[in-house]
Amino acid sequence: MKLKGHKINGGRVEGEAIVCNDAFSFVGDFDPTTGNCLIKRPELEGKSLIDKILVCPTGKGSSRGPLNAYRAMKVKKSPKAIVCTQAEPVLAAAAIVANMPMVDRLDKNPLEVIKTGDWVKVNGDNGLVEVIHPGNQSLQPK
């Protein structure tokens, strides 16, 4: 499945999706020393965001969020990319300083069509997101 969206930050990567249904902040929702998610939901708490494609509605919270994303990036513990419904300036700055491709305003709601565990390709340069479901294991790199 291909989704057409809008570039927030450029770059092309692929990886496993982790879906967070609430607005996300790198302060409070994320531990930059471990790369783990701190959101108190059973499907998210303690899960690693390292090298994941983070799918969320938007950003929220502290203006220091991008510092945590940058700090995690320096020790290779940041997510790989962000796909969101509608970006806001703090989450966008996190993507920019931590070199994460980021796409928003997709033609389908990413929270509905992307599931945690899906293999997702993100092209930040042209705003394209391609979803490959986990059933297609053969498509995942070994």
């Binding site: 502290s62 203006s63 969020g65 940058y70 970006a87 300036p89 966008a92 700055a93 996190a94 920019i96």
Partner: protein, 425 residues
């Protein structure tokens, strides 16, 4: 995005790698939000809890900041009053940001000095010389300062991040987005007041009003109709400071006070509001109840100054404390800017507050208050405050370990003297 010749040169690295990296960040941010160009900025304000590596990257080769730049509260809580801070149990050299960020603070401070950042260490930059005029584009860390400057002084401060604040300080540019665009500033939600006793409204009532409105309106622009035109700077700050905490407010027009809201129609840009909210006594009580998490009336710590106290607030605190003593079981922690402290010293307010047992700080007493983290170890369970911001953050950053009581300055000082939370206004 259109760039001027000068901006092209900045982006090409003609002014060094730091300006280049900073310009690149601002251009990317602008493009992400469909900005047509960058605009000249007039002011920046920088959080001290930054990342040394990122600060180095964004400022490498830059000799001076290009716009007036001030710094957010001090990472060290005991700079203003080392003896007092020691007495109430703060460890020596306690550094709230080292604790949180593992950052080498002294190196960061050296870079701030080299760049000519004014080391004000306060969240109220407009009270210590960084005062924007209507239309000035500002990039400020700290949402209380930004929403106050935008709503009371007509400045253009949008939701912003620490890296963008730094980039604007060294480039003198900001993306042409958000509050910088007149069309984005008009109010969307109208707040009407229903039979509130405004003649006897305390600062805590203003805070509760703002806290309620923020939660109901999220990131929407707000206009409040029916507040007195004589609203003081202090009342205004208590009103708007909690809004970006319970919500994500960029601008709150107060009809008759906000420079671009002399009339309701002007605030709404001639349109009808998308939504009308009415606030009466029940809504104020709802907000106060949300901010109150303590069940016990025994107070361990009283915290004032989130945002930092103005000289008028210090005068009020001194007059409430004059000749009285803080209860031996209570700590009274008062936050202000050093520049305001010096004036309060000259006026004798500092002596009165200190002799009563109050302790001063110029650190953050909101989200980063040291007692949010080490309070429980020191036996501090219940904190009383006149700040909705501080109450909200304290309950969360302490992960519920600190219980909050929320009320006016007079009620807080009464509890500092008696050790008990009593229903006085």
């Amino acid at each position: 995005m259109f760039l001027t010749q000068e901006e092209e040169r900045m982006l090409d690295g003609d002014y060094g790698p730091g300006i280049q990296k900073s310009t690149e960040l601002l251009v990317k941010l602008g493009e992400a939000f469909d900005a047509k160009r960058l605009v000249p900025a007039q002011s920046a304000h920088i959080h001290c809890a930054t990342s040394l590596d990122l600060l180095l990257e964004l400022t490498e080769g830059a000799t001076q900041c290009r716009v007036i730049t001030t710094t957010h509260p001090n990472p060290y809580p005991d700079v203003l009053d080392p003896i007092g801070c020691k007495r109430i149990g703060l460890p020596e050299n306690y550094d709230i940001y080292e604790f949180i960020h593992g950052g080498p603070w002294r190196q960061i401070e050296d870079i701030f000095k080299r760049l000519g950042y004014l080391l004000t260490y306060t969240c109220v930059p407009f009270l210590v010389g960084n005062l924007p005029k209507p239309g000035d584009v500002i990039s400020w860390g700290g949402t209380s300062g930004a929403v106050t400057a935008t709503s009371m002084f007509g400045a253009c401060g949008s939701r912003d991040s620490v890296p963008a604040n730094i980039a604007t300080s060294v480039t003198g540019r900001a993306p042409y987005i958000g509050m910088a665009i007149k069309q984005n500033r008009y109010a969307q939600v109208l707040v009407e007041l229903d039979r509130l006793d405004l003649g006897n409204f305390t600062n805590a009532d203003y805070g509760a009003l703002g806290y309620y409105i923020g939660e109901k309106t999220g990131s929407k622009n707000v206009v409040i109709n029916g507040l007195p035109k004589t609203l003081s700077l202090e009342q205004f700050r208590y009103l708007v400071s909690p809004m970006p905490v319970s919500g994500a407010t960029n601008i709150c027009h107060v009809v008759g006070v906000t420079p671009e809201a002399w009339t309701l129609a002007q605030a709404l840009g001639g349109s009808r509001p998308e939504e009308v909210i009415t606030v009466g006594k029940d809504q104020i009580k709802e907000a106060v109840d949300k901010l109150t998490t303590a069940h016990s009336g025994e107070v361990d710590l009283v915290r004032l100054g989130c945002p930092h106290c103005s000289i008028i607030e210090l005068k009020d605190i001194a007059s409430l404390l004059d000749g009285k003593r803080v209860h031996p079981n209570v700590r009274l922690f008062v936050a202000t800017a050093k520049q305001i402290y010096v004036l309060a010293e000259a006026m004798g307010y500092v002596d009165i507050i200190k002799q009563s047992g109050g302790v001063f700080t110029n650190t953050c007493v909101g989200s980063q208050d040291p007692f949010n983290f080490i309070g429980p170890e020191l036996g501090i369970e219940t904190v009383a405050t006149n700040s909705a911001r501080s109450a909200h953050y304290s309950a969360r950053t302490s992960r519920g370990k600190i219980k909050l009581l929320y009320g006016s300055t007079a009620q807080c000082i009464d509890s500092a003297i008696t050790g008990k939370w009593r229903a006085i206004r």
